[in-house]
């Protein structure tokens, strides 16, 4: 059923319908209404999970790690500084192969102090071994939470759903939240296998000491399993469409591909492709339509990266190989590197395989508004010589 909800509210209701056993969070800036709404649902007797108010984000992450290790479904949410404070636990969660699902309301990090949106927080933990999904709008955020739990529990990998802080969390728009019955059709009750959780009848150790003779293989296995989860994300996304058709938005008229990893929208044979993640893609789609109707008819498309980890390198290569140039709009910097994190990965994916020019543009840091005018400027800018990273806007 369509409703008009704030992004945080829509996610909180979805999480309640997913029925985690334990929710833990730290209720202070930069937290969102998601955990406030989950606390309220619990207080109003509308939720069955154990709600543990933690004394810090470090504790919240530790609490869900511990609960997950006992073999139950868990949830937490955070943002910016809170995510950074969780970092040590985040690496441990992945290393111990715990299927924790977390929402990160993306925000910039200090200093200087900012409360506004960019992707610096989640980009900073991209190497931790978690699946990372980025949502364009409320509906996609909901889909990605269902997908995250399904894939996490099947592959024993943690997953983070990244939604733009304020831009999605505080915006009211129409959305359809799947009911518990719809959710359970896609996502069955979580039943971990013997040996995958702490059980006095079958004692196991998680994250135990690994000397040099073993450590590297264990990390390699985690890497390979994360890479291989790409297949699972693709398959489960198709199942999600079949089992809960109401909640999957009809594929947009101009979208040529839309799967669990990427979506391409725009001209069939584009000269220029813009690549971006998250809510910015909505504004880009409007810009693409305007430009494709004008003098530069049918020259432009946008490739949305929904899954950043595992990185869909071949899928991106296939989509951009025939284009003359690619402009990547990213909301994070790898300080001191030659490009932003997304651009570095795309350039690596295309190296020696495509002649397409790739240029990175850093936009919207600390909540700066990204306008259609700015996107149009980038479309012109990428036509010029050179592929140096640019801060723009």
């Amino acid at each position: 059923m369509k409703e008009i909800l704030e992004g945080s509210q829509a996610i909180a209701q979805t999480i309640n319908n997913i029925k985690p056993a334990v929710v833990s969070a730290y209720p202070i800036t930069p937290q969102t209404h998601i955990v406030e709404d989950l606390a309220k649902l619990k207080a109003d007797g509308k939720a069955k999970y154990e709600y543990v108010r933690a004394e810090s984000e470090f504790a919240a992450a530790s609490i869900v790690a511990g609960a997950s290790a006992t073999g139950v479904r868990v949830y937490t949410a955070t943002s910016s500084q809170g995510l950074l404070l969780m970092t040590e636990v985040i690496f441990n969660i992945a290393g111990m192969r715990l299927p924790v699902v977390m929402t990160v309301a993306n925000r910039g990090v200090s200093a200087p102090i900012t409360i506004w949106n960019d992707h610096q927080d989640t980009m900073t933990v991209r190497d931790a071994g978690w699946i990372q999904l980025y949502a364009e709008n409320h509906q996609e955020a909901i889909e990605q939470h269902l997908l995250a739990y399904k894939v996490a529990e099947k592959a024993n990998l943690p997953a983070m759903v990244c939604i733009d802080g304020f831009v999605l969390t505080h915006t009211y728009e129409d959305v359809s939240v799947p009911s518990t019955a719809e959710v359970s059709k896609f996502l069955p009750t979580f039943k971990p296998k013997k040996g995958q959780y702490l059980d006095p009848q079958n004692p196991v150790s998680f994250g135990a000491f690994a000397p040099p003779a073993f450590y590297q293989e264990i990390r390699e296995e985690l890497h390979n399993d994360l890479r291989n989860s790409k297949r699972l994300i693709l398959d489960e996304y198709e199942k999600l469409k079949e089992t809960v058709p109401d909640i999957i938005k009809k594929t947009e008229k101009n979208a040529h591909i839309n799967n669990g990893l990427i979506e391409y929208y725009g001209a069939a044979h584009p000269r220029t492709i813009l690549i971006a993640m998250g809510s910015l893609v909505g504004t880009i789609k409007d810009t693409v339509d305007e430009i494709n109707k004008g003098k530069m008819a049918s020259s432009l498309g946008v490739l949305k990266i929904k899954t950043f980890r595992p990185f869909p390198a071949n899928d991106i290569l296939k989509m951009v190989i025939s284009a003359k140039q690619v402009a990547i709009l990213e909301k994070a910097v790898s300080l001191g590197a030659t490009d932003g994190p997304l651009t570095l990965d795309v350039k690596a994916a295309l190296k020696n395989k495509a002649k397409t020019k790739v240029q990175g543009f850093i936009v919207g840091l600390g909540g700066r508004d990204i306008t259609k005018k700015l996107i149009t400027r980038i479309v012109k800018e990428v036509e010029r010589k050179g592929d140096q990273m640019m801060f723009i806007g």
Partner: protein, 180 residues
């Protein structure tokens, strides 16, 4: 697509007003979006919020730079904030002021200017100088973008947790502003 920009001050319920417009438009079977200009909220500081209404899904997330409609909850902002930035000769401006239309100095055609003494209605109906809902009655009347019924329903949806008395008072205030 209709683009609405709200101007007011922290504590005046500017963001709530934008949300109410979106909820009301949704109740009228339109697509709608509402979001604040994400500031650090301080009482009295100038604040903006935005709403969009369309008959197809709304994808853009940029702020409203070329508003069709401006809602100014506090006329003391004139001169401090460029409230009419991006407005053209078709932009409707709904402003809360006890002054006469002729005394409002804004660079928009007089026929597009709607002045309502929302503070007076708020004081009488709500007993507090909270004008955000009152001015929406004038908005519904001047623009026809949302129906009065959908607006009333939006008030119920948004304020029901705060009690029936508050809902009734706001509905009464909105209706009075609508009928002026």
């Amino acid at each position: 697509m209709h683009q609405i920009r709200f101007h007011g001050r922290g504590g005046q319920g500017v963001v709530t007003a934008a949300e109410l417009v979106a909820i009301a438009a949704f109740n009228d079977k339109h697509f709608a979006q509402a979001f604040p200009s994400f500031g650090v909220e301080r009482t009295g500081a100038p604040i903006e919020a935005f709403a969009r209404i369309d008959d197809k899904p709304i994808r853009t997330r940029e702020h409203v730079y070329e508003p069709n409609i401006l809602i100014v909850q506090d006329s003391s902002l004139i001169g401090t904030v460029d409230v009419t930035a991006g407005a053209d000769d078709k932009t409707l401006v709904i402003i809360n002021s006890s002054k006469d239309k002729k005394e409002i100095k804004l660079p928009v055609p007089s026929k597009n200017l709607f002045v309502i003494d929302a503070t007076k209605i708020a004081m009488e109906e709500l007993g507090r100088n909270i004008v955000n809902t009152v001015i929406l009655g004038a908005f519904a009347k001047a623009t026809g973008l949302v129906t009065l019924n959908s607006l009333k329903k939006a008030i119920e949806q948004k304020f029901s947790a705060k009690g029936k008395s508050l809902v009734d008072k706001n509905i009464s205030a909105i209706t009075r502003a609508y009928n002026m």
